[in-house]
Point group: C2
């Protein structure tokens, strides 16, 4: 963390009360990987029989721990498992060193926790390109093992933070055949946020019993509507990872449960929104809703062009209802558009319609909407049924401050 | 112009001495389209026989004057011609109003200058979505006609500015068969710069005689290596236009001249670089050179991913040799890359090689390079012969200041 910044103005009032998930225990420690005076490693130990699904960045320069996790997803699930995460160093673009660091960490965790190395998942987040001092991580594993606690998820959410200004958690409870299963998840992420297939670091746990292939299908589907629909700065991390672990400790099978799947999507969306609310320098939470596109894919291209436009993001920071820049973003996105069928709303205010400014448009009403903390931009292409919603934040002086000297 | 900003630190010391081009005369006036107390319209009158070529934005929301110009390029060239440009209002996304404004302006210019309306080209630059008060423009045309002057190109460069902090001009002289022809061009552009097919507003004049199809081929080819290789903020204007007029007044035929074509490319590159040097808030001029890509197209995708990454642009603003962010940008670009063959240079300093930090890398030397005004980032993919060079600037507080309240 280059500097301790004050908490995002868009942060929730407090970290939520997350339910204890049977079959998972957490521990954190201050290993001094890079940061001093704070926790920077977390261990989650998972009961035998836990099924694990995951989605990961598609970056072509993805980090060694990401490649290692990807190779392990889908393996046998009768043994126990463990997740070890460090912050402060991404172990990305570290060549042979990086692979050795992953080997050292996963082997030490396997030995200490008594689980197969093929069931140890590790993630690293922080600076890219510096060798990870993995001995500092492995030195902490004995201590972590001795402190494992089913109530440790809030502390775990803190230990994985980098430029985050608040820890992120979300949960749900689902009734299945009259019994209740729980889902609890944590995430980190604030900058370099434009996930492609997965995102940041996200860990979600449930005591439901779900077959691995079904679990993987759920998480892949929901990622496309949640984490893959947010952007802070259009930059895609080398380390984005989401791991979902179903311990089955409740004995309740949710493999075919639509309500479980819906609840899971809700937890994922909540965490994704919290990442945007902690976007570097953010002062506004922005929802962009595109309808009437030729296809859903086109709608998402338009929505992301709007969400990633620095001119739109700075206009929002300046509370300026500069809808001309929305017209610009649609024009450049590359997806199908017809200028003369285009309509644009800011909040509930129709600002443009059928290719020009709405005759009833009032700049004052639009400006009033821009003063709020939650901004909604609606676009209708007038071409078809394609629809997408994405979320982003504004671009402020805070982003420049944080990123002009993150490493120093 | 939302506010008068101080001149870019990357500006040339002064506006260059541009040669007079036989067959062109210029005039400017303060029509009060939006700005007060400065010139905001310019007229260029072109001699009979002038051939005209142009390239224009591919934005799907392009402005009415752009569509009108596109429909006229390639028409008969025996009559005279004229170019009328206003700043302060882009006449973009203005529906029927926009078409009427173009009709009113081109018809008034045609009448006053005695040229066919099909040979009158108009451009508008400024705010998107506000109706253009075209009566203010047409009211100035008589005055403009009476003030036409072959020496007026420097004043014309000023009249077309919006958020530009300096006027932009460039020229060349070319020997053809022992005789000399001249090229002189002007441009405006500072924000919303990520041209797609063409750029901003650019007007280039030459007294050479060049057949229209050859002229169009030259300008299209060179655009791909000049204006289409710059980006300030990844946002593509609705109004980008480049018009090249060859008056033929020298009597020298340059249709087949390689040296003329090369000189033209030089003028276009010079103007493109000046646009980057006037990038909103810019303090560093950045050249990104990608080699060893699978194809030239892949090299350009990588180079543009680097040039448009807000994390890289802010690191440059902070003088931080944060090459890990270059790794990130290559990973996300979508073009072919192999992490373990990747090499990166900052200036002449090899920072990364074969997928990890160069063993001889010195952070101090790299940091020293970053303190300069001209930053060079070199990337070799190690895959093939593909090559591209693009230019951009850093992302600073100045960009946020200019764009958070441009309209107000």
């Amino acid at each position: 963390m280059g500097k301790i910044t004050k908490v995002s103005p868009l942060a929730p009032l407090s970290f939520p009360d997350l339910p204890v998930i049977d079959g998972v225990a957490f521990a954190t420690a201050a290993a001094g990987v890079k940061y001093q005076g704070r926790t920077d490693v977390m261990l989650a130990e998972l009961a035998p029989g836990t099924t694990i699904a995951g989605v990961f960045t598609r970056s072509k320069t993805r980090a060694a721990p990401v490649l290692d996790c990807q190779s392990k997803i889908g393996g046998a699930s009768n043994a126990g498992a463990a997740i070890l995460v460090n912050s402060g160093n991404a172990n990305a673009f570290t060549g042979r060193n990086g692979v050795e660091a992953v080997e050292a960490i996963t082997s030490a965790v396997a030995q200490t926790c008594g689980v197969p190395q093929s069931r140890v998942f590790t993630s690293s987040t922080g600076v890219i390109g510096e060798p990870l001092p993995h001995d500092r991580v492995t030195a902490a594993i004995g201590d972590l093992k001795s402190k494992l606690n089913p109530n440790g998820i809030a502390a775990a959410a803190k230990a994985i933070m980098t430029t985050d200004t608040f820890p992120k958690g979300a949960s749900a409870k689902v009734e299945i055949d009259g019994k209740t299963v729980s889902i609890a998840g944590i995430a980190k992420g604030s900058g370099m946020i434009a996930p492609d297939m997965a995102t940041m670091l996200v860990y979600i746990f449930t005591d439901a019993k779900v077959e691995q292939t079904a679990l993987q299908a759920m998480v892949s589907d929901h990622t496309d509507k949640t984490f893959n629909c947010i952007t802070v700065d259009s930059d895609t991390s080398t380390s984005d990872s989401l791991i979902l672990a179903a311990t089955g400790a409740s004995g309740i099978d949710a493999t075919e449960s639509k309500s479980f799947s819906d609840a899971l999507q809700g937890v994922m969306l909540d965490l994704a929104h919290q990442v945007v609310r902690d976007g570097e320098g953010a002062t506004k939470f922005v929802e962009i809703d595109v309808t009437g596109a030729a296809t859903d894919a086109d709608a998402k291209i338009h929505a992301m062009a709007i969400a990633n436009s620095p001119l739109i993001k700075t206009a929002i920071a300046g509370e300026d209802p500069n809808w001309g820049r929305v017209v610009m973003a649609i024009g450049k996105s590359g997806a199908a558009a017809d200028r003369d069928r285009l309509s644009i709303r800011f909040g509930d205010i129709q600002v443009a319609k059928d290719g020009w400014r709405d005759p009833g448009y009032s700049e004052e009403s639009a400006a009033a909407h821009m003063k709020g903390e939650n901004i909604k931009i609606g676009v209708d292409l007038g071409l078809g049924e394609g629809h997408a919603t994405v979320w982003t934040c504004d671009l402020t002086h805070g982003y420049i401050e944080i990123n002009a000297d993150y490493r120093s």
